[in-house]
Symmetry: C2
């Protein structure tokens, strides 16, 4: 008797890949006339690329049992650890989430002993947050994979392409951060 797989084996009837062309055709029919369609084409590619690199990072981090957003928070704690001002509020402000959401993230990390909370004795409403040695240890284990994954995103590009891209990406990121009013 044959026993069974586990892959949830997706059937043969895959939808064909269409590529970008039908999207551009639809854009031609549905974009407002003051939209620059060549730029929008690039924006669409950026959206897809963002999606794909996010998936790739999630995939590579999944074995560590932590998501990129939680790693992000731990990095924040490391990079600001000399300052005393790391509180649930300031974390929420930096990550662009509500205080209640920060509480939930911190609960999760605290339960695993990767961060600690300590009440501010001068203002007992406030709580200081810091990473523990175990947390730092975890991050040190993860970071080599994190950086090599970042490296891998553009590994298929030629060196000259990378040079050009670098300048543009820095400018682009600055522009987006300015317009969103955020920034790391």
């Amino acid at each position: 008797m044959r026993k069974k797989i586990e892959k949830e084996h997706v059937g043969e009837q895959q939808l064909p890949r269409l590529g970008v062309a039908p999207y551009l055709e639809l854009m031609g029919k549905t974009a407002s006339k003051d939209t620059n369609q060549a730029s929008a084409h690039m924006g669409l590619l950026l959206l897809w690329i963002g999606d794909n690199i996010q998936d790739m990072m999630d995939l590579n981090l999944s074995s560590f049992g932590i998501t990129e957003s939680k790693l992000d928070l731990l990095l924040l704690l490391i990079l600001h650890q000399d300052k005393e001002g790391i509180t649930p509020s300031s974390i929420a402000g930096r990550l662009g989430i509500r205080r209640a959401s920060a509480t939930a993230l911190l609960d999760w990390l605290e339960k695993r002993n990767w961060i600690e909370r300590k009440t501010n004795e001068n203002n007992r409403r406030m709580v200081h947050v810091h990473i523990t040695p175990e947390g730092r240890n975890l991050v040190d284990q993860i970071l080599p994979t994190f950086w090599s994954t970042c490296d891998s995103f553009i590994s298929d590009l030629e060196v000259e392409e990378q040079v050009v891209l670098k300048k543009i990406l820095m400018k682009l990121n600055g522009s987006l951060e300015r317009r969103l009013g955020v920034g790391r």
Copy 2:
């Protein structure tokens, strides 16, 4: 899902923006020696850019009461609507999610009358999915905003920068899709 919209008046004690430098310094100390740090720097920027454009798109679509991932599904239905092979399974395959997750998405869209399910009479295990006129109407209302948002991502770049970027982005997206085994 992300919301991140209102303000909830965040207090004064904001964490300072550090910029990329401390990240690069940390990378110097923690990256494996076969990581190309210049490339990883660009990868990090791409990750941040992806995050920022996703936020910008979410923000601009939020007033339509639909997320980008659900719009994505509706676009899929539109672009494949001549073919008969659109089923929960094929949707799950294309979106890279499980069939159960596709069922949940379709339930949500069906409840709002934007899609319809119809049992395949030749093989009663299968269900065909198609967009309704109301669904198509909704998409037509959203798309101008969607395209202009895509356009806006790179609106601060010079024309020459855009020209260079386009070629690189197409190559980059192709490379990522190939490595992830996905594609639109």
